[in-house]
Symmetry: C2
Subunit: 208 residues, 2 copies
């Protein structure tokens, strides 16, 4: 058995793994994902489309592709998004072309999507590619509320709406494979990184 033959038993060879990271708004998904991508090679981040207005600390093309309602509708009609959801009146979607591009480069991808978007992916899958479903949240809604308040980008009413959605999203947690607790950023980064390293070590079953 040659060297290559041994290593080829692992799933994490040549990309094609999609890590879906979900969790309530304010959980810190973007911060954790950014840090994990800094410490692990072989990743591209899939930037989602959204019709929501850009926040002052956000960069177009880095945090989201900010597009119009009309543009979004066209993407959906042309099947150019693998999942899309409406959240608090704004639309969010994941680019199919971008994921294909990442996989073709032999890399893995992290998708930061909404819980409802993740559920759609669970139903539809992503062709031949493996998807790992991660739920990321602080350990309580109280901590989440404090974070949203500290961010200070929204009215109290908008924040209450986000917390109500969050409480509902928590109920979907048992559908996911992994739970990362983000009370402390370093710990959460270590946990998500571990999930990625472990999944790349996973052995491809004989019947895969």
């Amino acid at each position: 058995m040659s060297s290559e033959a041994i290593i080829e038993h692992r799933r994490g060879v040549g990309g094609g793994l999609a890590f879906v990271v979900c969790g309530p708004s304010g959980a810190g998904k973007n911060s954790v994902i950014e840090r994990v991508m800094e410490v692990i090679p072989g990743f591209s981040y899939s930037v989602s489309f959204t019709t929501r207005p850009r926040r002052s600390d956000e960069v177009d093309g880095r945090d989201y592709h900010f597009i119009t309602d009309k543009q979004f509708t066209e993407l959906v009609e042309n099947d150019e998004v693998v999942e899309h959801v409406t959240y608090l009146g704004h639309k969010y979607g994941t680019s199919r072309a971008q994921i294909k591009e990442v996989f073709a480069e032999g890399k893995d991808v992290i998708l930061n999507i909404d819980v409802n978007g993740a559920k759609k992916l669970m139903d539809r899958g992503l062709n031949d590619f493996s998807i790992v479903y991660v739920f990321l949240t602080p350990s309580s809604l109280e901590i989440l509320g404090t974070r949203l308040r500290e961010r200070g980008t929204e009215t109290e009413k908008q924040m209450q709406a986000r917390l109500a959605v969050a409480a509902k999203e928590m109920k979907s947690m048992p559908l996911f494979e992994y739970l990362v607790i983000n009370d402390d950023l370093d710990t959460a980064v270590d946990e998500l990184r571990a999930i990625v390293v472990a999944e790349r070590c996973r052995i491809i079953a004989a019947n895969d």
Copy 2:
């Protein structure tokens, strides 16, 4: 949903996870396991029984419990080992009492056992406890041979016997869940550690 309710969705609460680490003799299982236990809390190592003679660098009760054939037979008859195998004329077995003790303390356990022992565990399970199966090996039999030669504790004939067993064991790899490549100790330690951290983050499915 309270703080406790969120964290309780993770499997790695209160111990009860058994990590079975298998791989050919000379793969470096003991070195990797020792280092992982140094960097991760919440672990106890299950020391196996064996009838094989102690090597000069081994400590009784740390590396193995070195016992006689008669003592070993009694343990098996009293169902005091969860699995036992014969390897190159010597017997090896895992203490049931010790695993129960570790789990009762709310800890996880790492079992360094033979591939055939692991297969028996796959068939029988470990009561209500979850077992994670990890295969650990250098990326080629050539590297394995070099290591066995460097250890210099055996004759060339004994070494050839070990390599023949190793080649056979490699064929069981697809039965395992994870593959850790130990060409570089630091990388192998990081991979096994990641598997442990990730498995502790795993969400208990609704129907578990």
